[in-house]
Symmetry: C2
Subunit: 370 residues, 2 copies
């Protein structure tokens, strides 16, 4: 196939595909939501990804379409497929990442361990689920949630009435976990799968805050996580990068929490920390090129998100102090204006001693606090 | 200062500045020579860099101007300075890289070891130089030479008549050397200098073919080279990346051969091999930001140029085989069409065993032979 990749969505994930596209000499074209999007440098169109004509027009001359996010409606994807344009991941796979109820059904059918869950259609259904699960549940809207949005912990049957008014929701047990983990893999259409080392993730207010790779002391969980992610990638016929977010329960079991079928925040450390970054690998995978080595460069990598960003300033405004203090930390700014809670950039530190590397990454990120 | 960098010239050096600009969130604007230049993605203007109005128009809204090559005429640079636009490196420094006679004079004045040389104005002058230097000389046109062009080995006084008809030339002794080395440093306007490990370079037909870093068995020469390059950077008030090409003579001395005041082929290995690449460092330096760590990631890095490229094809056309054979090699394609001798890309391998890494890099590059 050719080597022109169309990316629907102009956020930081599309932006971070630009460097490896430049290096490999493959052409990246982005359909951005707005002028001045994070990936504006590669934008060849600006428009609404929910509009089939817009997406079809954008994709007319590309060799493959892939995504910055999972929100492109299935009917738009069907138009692309109908026009003979390769879509990766395929719409049937992407649906599993778009709809949490579909995800739970498909993972259960594959025998993948997941939290206790139920599709809940009304207050009575939620009451029954709460009764059966210790009086607490995590309720999620099937579609459109991200970064903590569309997720709610409930302890009474009427606490999801607003969401239930518009349709069924996913109810899950409140998992008691030691920590959260993320297993990133990539799969190409011909079937090859490559897995990066398992990562430990820390969320704050439902948003990824910090990632450590490899996950400290993971032991045999690393193999289990890799096997799970590879089974999911193959079982769902995923192409491109797949991120599997996991709970490590207090009993030491792995349960799949969420899936993302695109480069993922839990894999930003791979830019500096791995021989092949998740962004380069995604390009390779969607072009059905051989996958790159996923080994770590360093014994430990720690990525810390810059959330919110400096008030009334940009990340580069703070570079004179930040770069002077941390010549060995790598700084990433997404070209976004600061806004409370917004992911505006990240930093990655690598090294040999976990505590030292983590402290360094946190200190570097702190230069961009409001 | 702000963070908009204007780069005059749209070749692969400007192209390779794009990834770190995207990562750091600084804006890169390129004045390209042609549509479809290697750095076209960042091109905001297309025009002649020898035309002052073109360059001034391009540079009107940037915070600093820097370069993909050294060919911008001094009168054009003077217009930029006159308009109050910071130019880095400064025209006075850049002139030393533009004119080999000026370079020899300035380096001699700084006490830097260079080959025996003379400014030669006519056939008698060349005859005298040949008599004094064993009957052989390297003759160079003061300006415009690169990649072996404008350089000639002569053994008779009439062998440079064509060049002498247009002006003085530089004559140099034919240095007997063990090998060629390159010392890369970066300097910011405030004076800080950072040096990468010394590299060994191999030229074929006057063109860089292969680079190994650190230079094997360099021992104390590494310190000498670093001291020399830092003295040159400071002595000439260079800002940005400075590449110092060196001979290691058969007696084990270092002599400065050439200077380049921009990212340089001898530093492409730093993209994967060093904590901070020469391209990121150049952006930092010209913005007067703190310089990054120049340590090596790996015990050894080997870069091999792809010269010419596959006949009637592009580098990406060969990726299915090349990437499959070398999942751990990093491939760079400059988006150029193949042409005999043209630099169309490079590959870099890293590892611990010099022979193994070198063999791997050469084998990977060979996939793109005509």
């Amino acid at each position: 196939m050719g080597s022109v990749i169309g990316v629907v969505g102009g956020g930081q994930l599309a932006r971070m595909m630009i460097p490896p596209a430049v290096a490999l000499g493959v052409e990246l074209r982005v359909l951005a939501e707005i002028d001045g999007a994070s990936a504006a440098l590669a934008a060849t169109a600006v428009g609404d990804y929910r509009d089939a004509a817009t997406v079809l027009g954008f994709a007319a001359d590309v060799d493959v379409v892939t995504f910055d996010h999972e929100h492109v409606p299935q009917d738009v994807l069907a138009h692309l497929v109908g026009a003979g344009i390769p879509v990766r991941p395929r719409p049937e796979a992407l649906e599993v990442a778009q709809d949490k109820l579909v995800m739970r059904r498909r993972l259960a059918a594959l025998g993948i361990p997941v939290p206790v869950w139920a599709e809940v259609r009304d207050r009575d259904g939620l009451a029954a689920f709460l009764d059966a699960n210790g009086g607490a549940a995590v309720v999620k809207t099937p579609k459109g949630g991200y970064d903590g949005k569309g997720v709610r912990i409930v302890r009474s049957a009427d606490a999801a009435d607003d969401w239930l008014a518009t349709g069924a929701v996913l109810a899950e047990e409140l998992v008691e976990f030691r920590r959260e983990l993320a297993q990133l893999v990539a799969r190409r259409p011909s079937g090859d799968v490559a897995a990066w080392p398992l990562a430990e993730t820390v969320q704050r207010d439902g948003v990824c805050a910090e990632v450590t790779a490899p996950a400290p002391g993971a032991g045999k969980l690393s193999d289990e996580a890799r096997d799970l992610a590879e089974a999911i990638a193959s079982g769902l016929d995923v192409t491109g990068v797949l991120a599997v977010e996991l709970f490590e329960t207090t009993e030491g079991r792995l349960l799949v929490n969420e899936l993302a079928m695109r480069p993922h925040n839990s894999g930003h450390w791979t830019i500096e920390g791995a021989v092949t970054s998740q962004f380069e690998q995604h390009l390779r995978a969607v072009l059905d090129l051989p996958l790159g080595d996923t080994s770590s460069h360093s014994p430990v990598s720690v990525m810390v998100n810059v959330l919110g960003g400096p008030a009334g300033a940009t990340m580069p405004d703070r570079y004179p102090d930040a770069l002077a203090a941390h010549p060995d930390v790598k700084f990433h700014s997404y070209g976004k204006t600061s806004r409370p809670g917004r992911k505006v950039g990240h930093v990655t530190a690598t090294g040999t001693n976990l505590d030292e590397v983590r402290a360094r990454a946190r200190a570097a990120a702190a230069f961009f606090d409001a």
